[in-house]
Every structure is written in structure tokens, then in C-alpha cells.
């Protein structure tokens, strides 16, 4: 679209301003991680590296990160499998109840976390008779993560069409071979994007987690919540947040590179 220079400038300015607002609280967190105040009070009375040292030595924080990564990986894998299957079914077949299936996939993310949380908690404990554990968290997270994979996969399938798959079938390839050699390569970057979002959703989820985590299961958000109630631990939490934001650049950047490479190839 032909936009005048002032319009472009205005849009750029709004974008810049929005990003500034997005990063302002994060700057506060960064500064707080060096603050000598244990209660994150503002402005910081002084600065110290103590919290960074403490975090580096905190086995609890490390374990929580490991737990969270584990939970997020497991739920992402499940979501990838289930989400891809639903996407193929809905995009490549026409059947009765198609829109109901669509709604069913969306529901776990559209309904508020507290509803999902108490429903699953009640379900696991009464009907299923499953004691809450790390696996109940994985099951819960996978359920609401399916949708992110599904949407990315569906959009990609719609765009790529069925011609290549038909050609593959005409050349005598079976369903699995076609999926492995034709459909999957087309889907790869979409699955990567969906998987990354699923991972992020699971990694930061707290409400559903509160209701589905068993004893001793401390994901990072739960660790952070607990530390808000512990004496002299609040700045440690700020350190963790800063580290996470910085570290998150790596997977996001890699995902971007991969999908960009995909687009270029096409």
C-alpha cells in the first residue's frame, strides 16, 4: 500500500512508543534485580550483586527451571502430535461434526484458566482417581496447548493445498510416506512456531498448574509465587525473570531463522 512518509513515520513512532511501554516494566525488573532492597521497593535504595550470586547458588531455582522445561517439553510434544492430527483431519477431510471438533480444540484456551483448573482438579481426584503429580500437570498443559499447534498447522495446510500430496499419491506413495516426505516438510516451520508458542504458554502457566500439581512438583511460576511469600527472596525472582527473558532470545531467534529459511526456499 502506498503510504505517505508522515503516515509511515507516525506508525513507526506508535510502534516505538508501544515497545517502550512493553519494555518499561522489564527495565524496572532488571533494575530491581540489582536493588539492595529485599522488597523491590522503588526507587532502589542501593545496588548489589548479592541476588545474582544467590540465584546462581539456588538449587531450588535450578530444579524449578528443570521441572518447568520438562513439563513444557512433554506437553509441547503431546500437543504437536495431537494438534497436527486434528489439523490434518479438519483441513483434508469433510465430515459431520467438523465444527464441533474445531470448537473442542479451542475451548481449553478460550475458557478461563480457573475453570479449566478446577474442572481438571475435580476430574483427576474424583472420577479418574489419579493422584496429582507432575503428569497431571503435563496432561492439563498439553490439553490447552493443542490449539496453538493446531492453528499454525491448519493455516499452513490451507495455504499449501493438496496438489503435492495428490501427486505423491499418484506416484504410488502410501499415506505415511506422503506424510513423511511431502506433508511434514511443508508443515515443519508452522509446527515449530506453534510448538514454540505452546512451550511458552506451558512454561509461564500458573493458574491451571496450581490446581493440577502434586506434592513436590514445583514449576518455575509456582517457585516464584512461593518466593513472594518467603522472607528476603523477592529480588531473586527478579533475577530469574531477567535471565529468562535474555535466554528466550535463543529459541525465538532460531525459530525465526528456520521459518525464514523455509519461506526463502519456497
Amino acid at each position: 500500500m502506498h503510504l505517505g512518509r508522515p503516515t509511515r513515520g507516525l506508525l513507526a513512532a506508535i510502534t516505538g512508543l508501544t515497545l517502550a511501554v512493553i519494555y518499561l516494566p522489564l527495565v524496572v525488573v532488571l533494575i530491581n534485580s540489582f536493588s539492595s532492597s529485599t522488597s523491590l521497593s522503588w526507587p532502589p535504595p542501593g545496588f548489589t550483586l548479592e541476588w545474582w550470586v544467590r540465584t546462581a547458588n539456588s538449587a531450588g531455582a535450578r530444579d524449578a527451571v528443570v521441572t518447568s522445561v520438562g513439563v513444557a517439553l512433554a506437553s509441547t510434544v503431546i500437543a504437536l502430535v495431537l494438534g497436527t492430527l486434528v489439523a490434518i483431519a479438519l483441513q483434508r477431510y469433510d465430515f459431520f461434526g467438523r465444527s464441533t471438533v474445531n470448537l473442542l480444540v479451542i475451548l481449553p484456551i478460550a475458557l478461563p484458566g480457573i475453570v479449566t483448573g478446577i474442572a481438571l482438579n475435580n476430574f483427576f481426584r474424583t472420577i479418574a482417581g489419579v493422584p496429582l503429580s507432575i503428569w497431571t500437570v503435563v496432561v492439563a498443559h498439553a490439553t490447552f496447548c493443542i490449539v496453538t499447534v493446531f492453528n499454525n498447522a491448519v493455516a499452513r495446510l490451507r495455504r499449501t493445498g493438496t496438489r503435492l500430496e495428490e501427486a505423491s499419491a499418484d506416484l504410488g506413495a502410501g499415506g505415511w510416506t506422503t506424510f513423511r516426505l511431502v506433508t511434514f516438510p511443508q508443515l515443519r516451520s508452522a509446527l515449530l512456531a506453534g510448538g514454540l508458542l505452546a512451550f511458552a504458554l506451558s512454561f509461564d502457566e500458573i493458574i491451571v498448574t496450581t490446581f493440577t500439581a502434586g506434592s513436590g512438583v514445583t514449576t518455575l511460576p509456582i517457585f516464584i509465587l512461593n518466593n513472594m511469600f518467603r522472607p528476603n527472596q523477592a529480588p531473586v525472582v527478579a533475577v530469574i525473570a531477567v535471565v529468562l527473558v535474555v535466554v528466550s532470545v535463543v529459541p525465538i531467534y532460531l525459530a525465526q531463522r528456520l521459518s525464514a529459511a523455509d519461506v526463502d526456499r519456497r
Binding site: S37, T38, S39, L40, S41, W42, P45, R54, N57, S58, A59, G60, A61, R62, D63, V66, T67, G70, R125, G129, V130, P131, L132, S133, I134, W135, G214, S215, G216, T218, L225, N226, N227, M228, F229, R230, P231, N232, Q233, A234, V236
Partner: protein, 393 residues
């Protein structure tokens, strides 16, 4: 990192295995409803190798949050019981978690204990099997919140009062009565703070005990319908002056530091933190007295490791450990000898029986009035919860 992962995996596997076994063995009993009378243990056997503990944050520290704060490792070495722990943020959460039957031991405040006992979640404790019990302050033993019909349901841990804190620059003259947050709260409109829990209704009832004697409130945890209504009215009148309700102490420390709150209920540990940061606040035990808490270590009626549980109760009540744990959390210790291991006992009025007598410790409100009245039914915690939601509006 690698070691942590494999340890974690091992622990997870163990927990899963334990829980699965527990689920299998308890399958037949899940349908049973209502509390079953449980018997206290008469002798101790061999320790089981592990114990699962539910407690307030800061009660079970194994050095993983701060390597210098650790009283679990020595316990594990000494008894061979490996400790897994989970923390909770409110008494209500604790009750829900205890219902899962996943925990052997719980540290419960008085607003949870009677509910746990009534629900059959915990079992009476044979204090003869706990040598450290003899060293506990007598004024904490066999009270309404930790015993039923003279039967002890646990070992007292730490205690403290819900004090009145104020900003010394803004609130003058220094208040001596709770009226500063109730009848006279409007002078600090928008800067008053209060504890965000139904149990805070007791603070209003305590105030009414002195200021509206005609209501006949004898115990702030035993309120009949009219008395509860009076307390609710007082809190509804207070609400427009409240800036925010608090439940975690980080929130309160922040709001007193920034000036968003200038007067309201607090814990001694918050005052200590604020003083350390140079914020001008002071606390007072008002003339009406105060509500407070006395936490109790209890044993689950479904405990899978009763012997390790008894070992933990004895360990945590021993003077040095009791001192460490209560000092870290910021409350008075329950063990008489604990103060030889703490240098801040004075600030917490530890062992000061006269100070302690002004505290009405959190007790779960139940239909059978805890003040002994039999001619009326009292309002129970469910009613208090509904009332609290109405108050917040």
C-alpha cells in the same frame, strides 16, 4: 545440572510410584464419607525412609533456596527419612491439599486446625512419643485450636500477633487502639490496609468486644448471627477507607514503603523488614488486644510414614531447630529453650505469658460455639467466607 536432572527424575519416579501404590491401596476407601475416628499411636516403629510435609513457605527449608538456611538435611542424615515438601499460601489451600491424602505432616494455623480435625484429615498425636514436647511453653499446649476434648492434635510451632502497624510520619499521635482502622479510619481514607481473609472478621469482632459490650461477644471466633452482622457492618463501613487488602507480606512491605498504606494490621516480621530498610513505621499491641496465630504440626490420618512423621515433629520442636525455623519465618518460638539460639526473642515477646494472654489465636469458627455457649448456634467458616465476599463487594 545433569546431576540435578537425574536426581529430580529419580525423586519424581519415586513419588509417582508411591502415589500410585497409595492410590491402589486406598481405592476401596475413597467412597467412604465423613471422618472416621482415628486412634493415636502408642509406640514408634522403624522409620519408613521418607516423609512428605505440607507447610507455610519458610517452615521446611533444605538449603535449596538459600544454602545457609537449612534444617532439613541434618534431619535426613539423623533419621534416614528423606523429606519432600510443598508450601501453601493460605490456610484454605492447606486444607484442600490435605484432602488429597498425599501428605504425612502439615503445619497448620489455628484457622485450619479445627477444620482438619473435623474433616478427619489429621489424627491425635501421642505427645509421650515426642521428647521435645516437654520443652514447649505451657500456655500454647492443649488450647482450643490444637486439641479437642483434651486430646492433643499436634505440636505447637511458632506464634505471633496480628499487630497494628502505622507510618510514624503520617499517623500522629501514635495510636493505641484499633479505632484508628475502624471508627476513625476516615482520617486515613484510602491508606488503611487489612488482612485479606475471612478470618479478619475476628479482628472486627475483637474491636466490638470492647466498644460494643452490649453485643455480648466473649470470643471473637464464636459469633452468633447478630454478632456476625455487627462485625460485617463494621467492616463494610471500613472498606471505603481501605486502600488495599494484603495477604502476602511482600505486598504489605511494598505498600508501606511506597506510602500507599499508612496504617493497618501486620506481623512483627514485616515491621522488622521495614525497620531494616529504614522505613519509618512502628507497631503496637492495641489496648483491645489482638488476634494472632499459633501454628501446629499435625500428622495426617492417612500418613504413609507415621514414624518419620513423629521424628519430624520431635525434630522441629527441639530448641535449636525451633529457633532456626521460627527466626527465619519471623515469629516467636514455641520451645522454651529456643531463645538461647536466637538473639531477637525480645522483639517477638517470646515466652511473655502476659503479652501472649492478650492474643486471641486464630481458631476456626464452627457451628458449636467455641466460647462454650450452647443456647445458640454460631456462624461457621463457610458463613464467614460468604460474609467476607459480601464485604469486599
Amino acid at each position: 545440572m545433569l546431576r540435578t536432572t537425574s536426581t529430580l527424575r529419580a525423586v519424581t519416579a519415586t513419588i509417582t510410584a508411591l502415589l500410585t501404590t497409595a492410590a491402589l491401596t486406598s481405592c476401596g476407601t475413597t467412597a467412604a464419607s465423613g471422618p472416621e475416628p482415628t486412634q493415636e499411636q502408642t509406640s514408634l516403629g522403624k522409620t519408613e525412609g521418607s516423609v512428605s510435609i505440607l507447610a507455610w513457605p519458610g517452615y521446611v527449608e533444605d538449603g535449596s533456596n538459600d544454602p545457609t538456611v537449612d534444617w532439613v538435611s541434618d534431619f535426613e542424615t539423623k533419621t534416614g527419612c528423606t523429606v519432600t515438601s510443598k508450601t501453601y499460601g493460605t490456610s484454605d489451600e492447606a486444607i484442600n491439599l490435605m484432602k488429597t491424602g498425599d501428605y504425612d505432616v502439615v503445619a497448620a494455623s489455628g484457622d485450619a486446625t479445627l477444620r482438619l480435625i473435623a474433616g478427619g484429615e489429621v489424627t491425635p498425636v501421642n505427645t509421650d512419643l515426642i521428647p521435645s514436647y516437654a520443652g514447649i511453653f505451657d500456655f500454647l499446649k492443649n488450647q482450643a485450636w490444637n486439641s479437642v476434648d483434651g486430646k492433643a492434635y499436634g505440636v505447637p510451632h511458632g506464634y505471633g500477633a496480628n499487630l497494628l502497624m502505622y507510618n510514624t510520619d503520617v499517623v500522629t499521635p501514635p495510636p493505641t487502639s484499633w479505632s484508628v482502622v475502624f471508627d476513625d479510619a476516615s482520617q486515613y481514607a484510602g491508606k488503611v490496609t487489612a488482612y485479606d481473609s475471612p478470618i479478619y472478621i475476628a479482628d472486627a469482632a475483637l474491636y466490638l468486644m470492647t466498644h460494643k459490650p452490649e453485643l455480648g461477644i466473649k470470643n471473637p471466633y464464636a459469633l452468633d448471627d447478630t454478632q456476625l452482622a455487627a462485625a460485617v457492618d463494621l467492616l463494610k463501613a471500613q472498606r471505603p477507607n481501605v486502600g488495599e487488602y494484603w495477604s502476602d507480606y511482600l505486598k504489605e512491605i511494598q505498600s508501606f514503603t511506597s506510602g500507599d498504606s499508612v496504617v493497618g494490621t501486620t506481623w512483627q516480621v514485616i515491621q522488622n523488614s521495614l525497620a531494616k530498610e529504614g522505613v519509618k513505621t512502628a507497631v503496637v499491641l492495641p489496648e483491645e488486644g489482638a488476634t494472632g496465630w499459633s501454628d501446629t504440626w499435625m500428622i495426617s490420618s492417612k500418613a504413609k510414614s507415621p514414624n518419620c512423621s513423629y521424628a519430624w515433629l520431635d525434630w522441629i520442636a527441639s530448641p535449636e531447630v525451633n529457633a532456626k525455623a521460627t527466626a527465619y519465618f519471623g515469629e516467636a518460638p514455641s520451645s522454651q529453650e529456643a531463645c538461647t539460639f536466637r538473639d531477637d526473642c525480645e522483639a517477638f515477646h517470646a515466652g511473655d505469658a502476659e503479652y501472649a494472654s492478650k492474643i486471641w489465636y486464630w481458631t476456626t469458627p464452627v457451628a458449636k460455639c467455641v466460647d462454650g455457649r450452647t443456647d445458640v448456634t454460631c456462624t461457621d467458616y463457610a458463613k464467614w467466607t460468604a460474609a467476607w465476599q459480601e464485604i469486599k463487594g
